[in-house]
Amino acid sequence: MSLYQRPIPTFWWLERRSYLLFVLRELSSVFVAWFVVYLLLLINAISGGSTEYEQFLDRSGHWWVVAINVIALLFVLLHTVTWFGLAPKAMVIQLRGRRVPAAQVVVGHYLLWVVLSAVVAWVVLR
Amino acid sequence: MTAFHDVLVIGGGGAGLRAAIAVAETNPRLKVAIVSKVYPMRSHTVSAEGGAAGVAAADDSLDEHAYDTVSGSDWLCDQDAVEAFVAEAPRELLRLEHWGCPWSRQPDGHTAVRAFGGMKKKRTWFAADRTGFHMLHTLFQTALSFPDVVRYDEWYVTKLLVDDGRAYGVVAIEVATGRIETITASAVIVCTGGCGRVYPFTTNANIKTGDGMALAYRAGAPLKDMEFVQYHPTGLPFTGILITEAARAEGGWLLNKDGYRYLQDYDLGTPSPTPELRSMELGPRDRLSQAFVHEQEKGRTIDTAYGPIVQLDLRHLGADVIDAKLPFVRELCSKYQNIDPVTELIPVRPVVHYMMGGIHTDIHGATPIEGLYAAGEVACVSINGANRLGSNSLPECLVFGTRAGRAAAVFAGRYGGAVPAAVLADGRDEERRLERDLGRHAEGRERFADIRSEMQTTMETGAGIYRDGDSLAKAADELRELQERFADAGIDDHSRRFNTDLVALLELSFMLDVAESIIACALQRQESRGAHQRTDYPARDDERYLAHSLIHRGPDGLGVVKYLPVTITRWPPGERVYGR
């Protein structure tokens, strides 16, 4: 029987907004990786002494480094938002035999996020 | 090519799947196949909402279920069949539970039961208000665990092969390819469901075109009690989508134009705020639908673009009860009617719902043709008589599906084998006829869809909730004429691949035969009983008509109606009393 099979376009993820969002979400991982590289460079600079640290600070002020970091931050935030949104799908938390509603699980994640961010900022800026 | 199976089941709905599993359980050596014009899980059983009756509660008894069924049937059922039915229903429902059916539960973990129309006790098992859906999928998925059950999905059966009073198989079209094939078998079980689509306004799915009834009728088996067509009192006005009786069982009220619970005017009891069994809104369907007609005549219904309506009030139940017990009702109302039953009234009107009649069988599902069995809505055993009680049909599919499956398995085990040459020749004739149909061009500009809608209108006006000699005679004439016009009708589509035009044409030809048999039986029965209400003979007449009508197809294609006395075991005919 000859059946018609629709070919899949190379850029299939442009066909639906939700697919595009998905691909962007997945690409956020690249910026997560970039952050790790940046972090390791920072650690290396701090370990190398105060001059190297100053140099690192200078370099991080370059317009293109800032630009990358702005984009990276946007992607990382996209990651955070989508990650928290999807977390309750995999996790079924039971409290006293009742399933905790998904919305509460999401809110829980955001609370944790705020607290952890505050702690990190405090440690760094103290 | 000719395939052979020991037992061939036509239909993959509740009855067909249960029958196939029963064959496999009875005799694992037998090869059983299911032929279905849609994938089994699309069968109409999927739409059943309310529940399935079977005695479960401590305060209930088999006798009470039997009595409710017998009186509900207006004493036209066979009481031996009813006794077998009520005795085996609970077991079948439990069996389904063991197969995983997600029945709604009581807090202690036992299955729950709810009230239903015409039933004196709570005995209707339910899976929210998607009972048929869950039952069908449970059966289908369980059938998957029997690798030896072969399926012909989306094959359309066009003819039963019968030779010398014995069934040998079918001719069917594989819809996807247009391939026509003869499939032979030692025993055939017809489980093709009802024929609501003979009418214009029905709760029934598009596939319910009475194929099996016509197949058997054409093959020489009689149809029984065809004049009894059930109108369900609560369908949504445009689509005919059913609002389940469970809505009333949970406490819903029927209101006329003035907000008045009009059922109290029709000898159905007195209104009380909470539902009372066998009373008011929980009366039987025939009486409720008849009450609607009287309200309409008194001008107390509301006129809408889609005909007169009354209103179903669920508001006092509150969102919690509705979401827990009737979520599908809420979903259907919001999708198809744009209303929310939690705050608004649901417009409803009576709608063709179920065929009490069908292929004549004994209590083992056997038809007068040897090796031919029938079960489910297509069959008439009969436990439904002149009016089926809500929630008796799903368990009927299970109980008599099982019985037919067992009987067919025994039969096939005993008489295996050889298919006479005449049968194969018959099969080839049918294949040629189908080839001709495929090439059929219309004489003139007749569209068969127009014939279909005229047939539906004819049935509604001729054999609706109320009928009389004149309306029926007129309908009979019109149907004859439509049969003639049908002979000249053609199809647009002459290709083989998934030709739904051809299928619809064949369905119409089946429906025309079924429609004629309904009218013929209704014309002969000069009394009023259950769903058959003749304004010219308004009283029940047990002298002449405490009997099943049996219609045989005569050589000229016209039906010949005879009568067969009903079997009475323990409940002599009495008055049907509700609300008192």
Binding site: M1, F22 | M41, H134, A205
Partner: protein, 247 residues
């Protein structure tokens, strides 16, 4: 409101078309009319050769899935007035081979479904005479959502992974496996594990989530799959870390 709307319907007639072409039809635009009503109007009054599947017209049989203006939908539960003034594009479900017009071939799903053993498996079958297997309403609640699947295939049609990797068992079949795994009466989780944990099983899913977004019955197959990933991964860790007996 205009009283007509245009349906642009994808036609594929294998004996005359090599690929689908669109044909336009004018159908009445009436309140309560679903896209499916438009299609049956075409079939009955304009062009009997148009082929599509439908049956219950109440969103429960799962036959009538189509792509309407780019989205997978049940055509009986998608209303013309929501698309006014039109035109409305009606195409077959994506990701499935097209048999004809709006009819797709779902045999792939029908073959995969039995592989996940979507039926109740008991360690010990008790006879029916002993009564029901007890299950509290909460235990029922634990899997009920996943039992709502009508096999309409909208999720497969929306899942890009299924498009790219046709071996993927796919959202509905996995959700149905989970429906039984989470049923308190079932002991078959171990038997279903091999298929579900194969590369064509849960691990192929990248959590696009569109399956759940388009599901007309709120089955949430995406959730079913992610939950099973967590279960499977923990199980693997346990298998690895704990000595045989202690599992």
């Amino acid at each position: 409101m205009a009283d007509e709307i245009t349906l642009e319907v994808a036609r594929y007639r294998p004996d005359q078309d090599t690929e689908p072409v669109f044909e336009s039809y004018q159908v009445p635009l009436r309140p309560h009319w679903a896209v499916l009503d438009g299609l049956t109007y075409i079939k009955d009054h304009l062009d009997g050769t148009l082929s599509f599947r439908w049956s219950c017209r109440m969103g429960i049989c799962g036959s009538c899935g189509m792509t309407v203006n780019g989205d997978p939908q049940l055509s009986c539960a998608t209303f013309l007035t929501d698309y006014a003034p039109g035109p409305v594009r009606v195409e077959p479900l994506r990701n499935f081979p097209v048999v004809r017009d709006l009819v797709v071939d779902i045999d792939d799903f029908m073959d995969k479904l039995p592989k996940v053993k979507p039926w109740l498996i008991r360690a010990v079958d008790s006879p029916v005479e002993e009564g029901d297997y007890l299950q509290t309403p909460d235990e029922l609640d634990a899997y009920q959502q996943f039992s709502m699947c009508i096999n309409c295939m909208l999720c497969y049609s929306a899942c890009p992974v299924y498009a790219l990797e046709p071996q993927f068992i796919g959202p509905a079949a996995i959700a149905l496996a989970q429906r039984y795994n989470l049923d308190s009466r079932d002991d078959g989780a171990a038997e279903r594990r091999e298929v579900l944990e194969s590369p064509e099983g849960i691990w192929a899913c990248t959590f696009v989530g569109e399956c759940s977004a388009v599901c007309p019955k709120d089955v949430d197959p995406a959730g079913a799959i992610q939950r099973y990933k967590l279960t499977a991964a923990t199980q693997t860790l346990k298998d690895f870390l704990l000595p045989r007996g202690a599992r």
